[in-house]
């Protein structure tokens, strides 16, 4: 099963290598990894999606915790969380079919961020399902390039009713 880990690390050179190295050395599969500074500039946050059974995930979390530069690891998979990914897709778009593409863009509440002679670049944000769906919808037009940021995730705040 796929798990989403929220990992706080020291914002220092080499930390990404240590984390990535740990995954390859111990044979764990990273599906995606997104990293960036947090509101506290000395701390970065990684969102790691990793596939494995419970035993493997338990080991991943423990091994991550052993890295000195790792401050905190949370497996948010079972928690209520918001997750987003951003994708940029460059599609074939001759003027005659642009209308059709724009409709799709509208449906997904995506945006067109570049218009070329024969191409459009579309930006879309959403959870994994949405990203996959827009990719599928645009495929028939011919996708020329695609780049994804990897998933980022955050546990939802406590709701008033639960107090």
């Amino acid at each position: 099963m796929r798990h989403t880990l929220a990992v706080l690390v020291e914002n220092q050179p080499g930390v990404l290598t240590r984390v990535a190295g740990l995954f390859s050395r111990r044979g764990y599969n990273i599906e995606s990894l997104a990293v960036g500074e947090t509101h506290e500039p000395t701390i970065s946050r990684m969102t790691i999606v990793v596939d494995g059974d419970d035993l493997v995930i338990e080991q991943v979390v423990k091994q991550l915790n052993k890295l000195i530069d790792v401050i905190d690891v949370q497996d948010v998979t079972q928690a209520e969380y918001v997750d987003r990914e951003l994708v940029l897709i460059k599609v074939n778009a001759e003027p005659s079919i642009r209308g059709e593409i724009m409709q799709i863009v509208d449906i997904f509440r995506a945006r067109i961020v570049d218009i070329g002679y024969h191409t459009l670049i579309i930006e879309c944000t959403g959870d994994e399902g949405k990203i996959r769906a827009i990719e599928k919808s645009l495929k028939p037009f011919g996708i020329l390039e695609l780049v994804r940021t990897g998933k980022i995730a955050m546990v939802r705040g406590q709701k008033y009713e639960e107090d």
């Binding site: 080499g14 240590r18 190295g21 338990e58 423990k62 915790n65 052993k66 000195i68």
Partner: protein
């Protein structure tokens, strides 16, 4: 007052209580060596940087204090790699200082540049590349703290040359704080209570003691615990010395070349109490048939060891020593009468055995004699890797912690001699033996020069079979005796080799010469090589073939 980086390192080492470092100079560490020249810290000049790392490792294991080694950039640093990996696998606290090219030269393939923090990433507990001389003192403090606390391990500090020349105000921080490093605190008492009850209910319990007992300095507690509960104790290779192997409750070593009775006891037990051990594949054999009826209590300071290889029912995470203390208070004493009888039967039926034949020298006999002659002495045994190591593990009954030092996890041929150098430096009064093979000794034999230079009366017992014996044994058993690249048609004359180095050499070919030779060696205040010419195709038994169940032993 401002000090240079090199001076800061020397001062910091003093603050850490370091008395001796093992190293080898070079361009990138020139400024450091210049300051070491005036420092009270003793520097042992090895003959190869691998020797420095192993010596630091042997020193740490023999004394319980962290070992320190130094190498220059590039090839000096890469020569440390095997030694660092060895310390990592066996959880030994060493601090490795490596020279590095100037900060501005990093990344340009400068002369003798190697990305040593990158190269060693998977084999260190932590590492630093120092980029600001103002951080140097705190970095060293942090490195010692990390190496010696929790599950110990190697820490590397890479020192760009200009950092060692630059100046900073020296202030040694009494402690450092980490956001991402916590040593497990006290173990949850409820867990201890659960363990105490499970132990009381067991009928066939066995203690499986590893190197963690020794690094936690908990041998006394282990003994008290075992004697109070009357639970038999088996130990791993690194656990040798955690419990006296002559004790009636001792089963000796478990695993691939363990005693038959230890392997049976573990396999048929209903409760395994693992203490500072990690269920290595050389111990468990085939995992899915390992101890099928046993519940498992696992005491370890590293939470990642819990459940890594086998399912654990009651984890006790924390330092072994206080956990054992608490467990001794709380434990319910199980009824192990029947079980101990069963074990006595196994011991009687399947003892470790070999046959002495007229006119041939048996390696087991040599080890027994080394044991006889050193058992009442303050002695430290190191080993190389292969048959020599396994015979040593089987026939040298370790009685006290930090007296048996061997490369377990990595299985590094060439470890024993430099480790013996480190052990003898750390324990000048001890009688030190390196039990060696003719293959292994050739991997780091240059350290004999180190031993001679510093007058270290190390005794090197080469069990000479003119084979890479352990590999030959596998070829005999599993490859139809096709001895591919395991025979040495020409070996150096080890007696002459010893003499060439300024050490003493002896050769022993007959059983009756063993004892006098050992006595002479111990009485000699210089390094000694004894070349024991042993039965060439003697095998180590019992043996659990790789990947087989523990009970599927051959040769017992």
């Amino acid at each position: 007052m401002k000090l240079t980086g090199a001076e800061i390192i020397c001062k910091a080492l003093e603050y850490e209580g370091v008395e001796v470092v093992f190293g080898y100079p070079g361009g990138a560490v020139l400024p450091l060596y210049d300051k070491l020249y005036d420092s009270p810290i003793r520097h042992i000049l090895v003959r190869h940087e691998q020797g420095a790392a192993h010596a630091a490792d042997g020193y740490a294991r023999a004394t319980g204090r962290p070992g320190v080694c130094i190498a220059t950039s590039g090839p000096g640093a890469t020569n440390l790699v095997t030694g660092i990996a060895n310390a990592y696998m066996d959880s030994v606290p060493i601090i490795a200082f490596t020279g590095q090219v100037n900060l501005s030269a990093i990344g340009r393939d400068s002369f003798q540049e190697a990305d040593i923090t990158g190269i060693t990433l998977p084999i260190v507990k932590h590492s630093y590349l120092v980029k600001d001389v103002n951080q140097l003192a705190a970095t060293i403090r942090a490195a010692f703290h990390i190496a010696t606390t929790g599950r110990p391990g190697p820490v590397l500090i890479d020192l760009p040359k200009d950092i060692t020349i630059a100046q900073a105000e020296f202030e040694y921080p009494p402690q450092v704080t980490f956001r991402g490093y916590r040593v497990p605190g006290r173990c949850d008492s409820a867990q201890v209570y659960q363990a105490a009850r499970a132990i009381g209910e067991a009928r066939k319990p066995v203690i499986y003691a590893g190197g963690g007992v020794i690094s936690s300095n908990a041998a006394e507690e282990l003994r008290e615990f075992a004697e109070k509960t009357r639970i038999p104790v088996t130990n791993t290779l690194l656990g040798k010395g955690s419990f006296p192997e002559t004790h009636p409750l001792s089963l000796g070593m478990v695993g691939m070349h363990g005693t038959a009775y230890a392997n049976y006891a573990v396999s048929y037990s209903d409760l395994i109490i693992a203490i500072g051990a990690r269920f290595d594949d050389r111990v468990t054999g085939r995992l899915d048939t390992f101890a099928p009826n046993a519940r498992v209590i696992h005491i370890d300071i590293d939470p990642a060891e819990i459940g890594k290889n086998v399912r654990v029912h009651i984890p006790l995470v924390g330092d072994v020593k206080p956990i054992l203390k608490e467990l001794i208070q709380r434990v319910e004493v199980p009824d192990t009468g029947e079980w101990l009888k069963q074990i006595e039967q196994w011991k009687a039926e399947y003892p470790l055995r070999y046959t002495n034949e007229e006119g041939v020298l048996k390696p087991q006999y040599v080890i027994e004699q080394i044991w006889e002659i050193t058992r009442d002495k303050n002695a430290v045994i190191t080993t190389e890797v292969g048959q020599n190591q396994m015979w040593a593990a089987q026939y040298y009954k370790a009685l006290r912690p930090r007296t048996f030092i061997s490369s377990g996890g990595l299985g590094t041929m060439g470890f024993g001699l430099p480790a013996a150098v480190g052990a003898q430096i750390g324990r000048p009064d001890a009688v030190v033996f390196d039990i060696a093979g003719d293959g292994s000794i050739q991997m780091t034999v240059q350290e004999l020069a180190t031993a001679v230079q510093y007058n270290l009366p190390i005794n090197i017992a080469i069990l000479n079979n003119r084979f890479l014996g352990m590999v030959r044994q596998w070829q005999e058993l599993f490859n139809n005796k096709r001895y591919s690249q395991t025979e040495f048609p020409d070996l150096p004359d080890f007696v002459k080799l010893a003499e060439a180095y300024g050490a003493v050499g002896m050769r022993v070919t007959r059983s009756e010469e063993v004892r006098p030779a050992l006595e002479r060696a111990i009485a000699t205040p210089k390094p000694v090589i004894i070349d024991f010419v042993i039965a060439r195709e003697e095998n180590v038994f019992p043996m659990v073939p790789a990947g087989e169940s523990l009970t599927k032993m051959v040769g017992c």
